[in-house]
Amino acid sequence: MTPPRLASALLRLFLPRGMDGDTIQGDLLEEFSVRARRSRGRAAWWYWRVVLSLLVRYHPVRVVRRPRDRQSVGDATLQDARYAIRTLLKAPAFSAIVVTTLALGIGVNTAIFSALNAVLLRPLPYRGADRLVRLVAFNPSQGIGSSNVSAADFTDWRRNARSFEDLAAFSTFSTTVRGQKPDTAAERIAGAQVFNLFAVLGVAPGIGRDFRRDDAHTGPATASIVSHGFWQRRFGGDPAAVGRALRPGSPALLVGVMPRGFTYPDNVDLWIPFALDPSADPRDNRYLEALARLKPGVTTAQAQAELDAISARLDAEYPQSNRGWRVRAVPLTNYIVGDARRTLLILFGAVGLVLIVACANVTNLFLAQASARRREIAVRSAIGAGRARILRQVLTESVLLAAVAGGLGVLVGRWALQMLIAIAGSGIPRLEHASLDSTVLAFSAIVSLSTGVLFGIAPALQLSRSSLVAALREGTHGAGSRSRTRSMLVVAEVAIAVVLLAQAGLLVRSFRGLQRLDVGFDPGHLLTMRVSLGGPKYRQLGPDVAFFDEAIRRITARPGVQSAAAVLSLPVGGGGYYLGRGFIRPGRSHPPEGYNAGYQIVTHGYFRTLGVPVLEGRDFDSRDAAAGAQVAIVNKVLAQRFFAGENPIGQQVLVWRDERTPREIVGVVGDLKPRDLTADAGAEIFVPHAQSGSTDMTLVVRTTGAPAAFAPQVRSALQALDPAQAAFDVKTFDEIMRDALVQQRFSLVLFAAFAALALVLAAVGLYGVMTSAVASRTHEMGVRMALGARPAEVRTLVVRQGLGLLAAGVAIGAPAAFAGGRLLGKLLYGVRAADPLTFALVIAIVGSATWISALLPARRATRVDPAAVLRTA
């Protein structure tokens, strides 16, 4: 049994060296072990107390007894600190409450700041990361907010723009890597075809070399670079792997390994060179993502102006493909962080408010304690302490407490940060790298010290100002200005609690709304998994269709499976092709906003499996084979937008991917939610898999029991069909829905926690104020009761005072909450910032908390014995 290590270390630091110190240490050890046999916790507590008391005694710098007027600042501070430690240890309950309150406040601030630091402040790990911008195409006239870019446009920008040092382009893909040996499992990895990427980012491979110009050609890749993680997993970190084939029999050689941690873009494990050829693809084939490095000294705005000019020129030169198309330069950090910026800043504001409430509470406690200490301070000033000296003494105490709270707060923060990362999942980019680094610790230290000064200054001023004579006369009346300050603090606390609770309430309401949102189908009892057929066998249309048809037939035959189908990409969670020209109506003029539509490939049975209603016409069925009549199904939005006043059924359209063969619209189905749950469904067009093959599909299986339990069965069915193919991204639809709401859940959980913390603190503060108000009015209560006031009337008197504070707090808090609700902006869905129900609920909650914290002191007031009061008067 060893005593607390930190305490022992402190002890060794301060005790005199040699026999004197050793014997004392020995005594403590011995007694600790005796006490620890009874209770470990109490022994540790005892040990700490003793160590602190010895610390005061054996502080290495003895205060040299000198004439008072020559006391140096250092000595005085030391003396203050020793005196403060003694005072605080004398009131352990008070100190503990102050430290706990502040530690919670500082802890949540530390946690949120470390998130903010990791996500927003810390630069990306690339050379001169502040000069990197993403180039995002968009077309306001077609309602396209962001899009990839075409190789031809990219080449023109690269040739003409003078703002950039250089530009890079890439496109991502995913591929299955089978093991070197037969027993190693196939692994699904993300890859990217890159042009100039590493040079623009300023990152070179850690082993081997970057791609050379001659690596990039149109044939199968002959050079590849892998991530550090992949190199460790697949090649056991063998440096000799560089120069060998990437996989057995592959023409691609491994030429380099990126440094540890580099996985741009999107956790990629494999990079292959991309041959940029502007003439190979039409100008409206926008499939590349673009990145650029600004020249030193060039601002994003200057680059944007130049890009605007180039876009306008391309618009005029190629109206067919570039009408209305523009490009936006977005700083890379902003692009990666996206919506999380607002969420984090709002949360940072929220924890700031929590800290203010904590400070207000501690100020209140100090003020309450100040009445008890007036005599002590008066004695000190009677024997010659100046006002500044007393001010400093009291401030030393508060800063000391804040420092201890800061230390504890960092521990709270570390724990809270772990929770934060766990709640956020993948919802907040870069958050997983958050840690309590030196920046965060410096922030916590500054916050702790400033809170120390903040909550210390009011009591310190008041104490140093108090009249000597009045205090020594031991007056209990006339604490007017102090109780006014305290009431104001409580009003502020109530107001802040109202603000935070209202935001939390709004978030709860919108979250519940999102959970109950009609996504257009029944997401329960659905298992999904992606299958991406690899190998030469599936290169042509036919085998892929046959594979999925057979897989679906076998899966459906399993007991417990109601139906199964496959789709190119799922609603809600999946991506898909959202095209500016999803289809054309032959013989009609092109509408100005374009035939903007999402493109989906589905097997027949898809709508039935998901539970999407067929509103008009028919579902796909076995008639819609490759050789049969070419058909398509559209959703309700498309039918209403492009066939207003007409019957879409039987209309002929030319659909993207094969704009030569017309398709007949045979059905209209209900709308499905896109990736962003808060957005409305867009126009979508569906074609049968048999008529538009795809090797990359997502299986959906509707089960009677818990869907996750069917995953092994479905996997084994696929394995039996073709052992070389692997299923990945296995998820139930409930999981997909949860993932889709991860940011909302993150802000909701945190806001609710902060609001609850603020409410509890405010209630405690109110209780404190009411208790001391009752104490200072004991005399009055006694007189009132002696004159015949009933207990209920006295109680009402006290509660009314509490409710007055509540009313003032709500009057300030409600408008502030309304303003705060508007800040939440996109985080709210389907609920207005001034939602009356939320506000009514919040006021009810704060009201009942107030009522309870006023009622307890009120009951005490009624127990006053009038006789006793009158006797002391």
Binding site: T23, I24, Q25, D27, L28, L29, S53, R57
Partner: protein, 102 residues
């Protein structure tokens, strides 16, 4: 304090440890002594030559750290006796005043 050391030094054999002195004061006088105050007082008594201590080896329960074994010096004994005499003189004649009423 000296009395506590005396009481312990008789029973304990060679000398009283600091811990034992603190416990004795708590048990007999019913006063809690903070460690800071305890060692300060013991040091002062030693400086006045009323107490002295020798080093006794420590057992495993104190990680072999040495122990101070306090004994009262001859001067200490004189001081105790003198204080006893003073007290006795002061008590004289107060029996009637101090007698507890039944």
């Amino acid at each position: 304090m000296l009395l506590a050391v005396l009481r312990l030094a008789q029973e304990d054999g060679p000398g009283a440890s600091g811990t034992a002195v603190a416990r004795e004061l708590e048990d007999q006088a019913g006063r809690r002594v903070s460690r800071g105050a305890l060692y300060t007082t013991l040091d002062r008594l030693e400086q006045k030559g009323l107490l002295r201590w020798k080093i006794a080896p420590g057992g495993p329960e104190r990680k072999a750290l040495p122990r101070r074994a306090y004994v009262v010096t001859a001067r200490g004994m004189d001081a105790v006796r003198a204080s006893q005499r003073t007290l006795q003189r002061m008590w004289r004649g107060l029996d009637n005043v101090l007698k507890e009423r039944p």
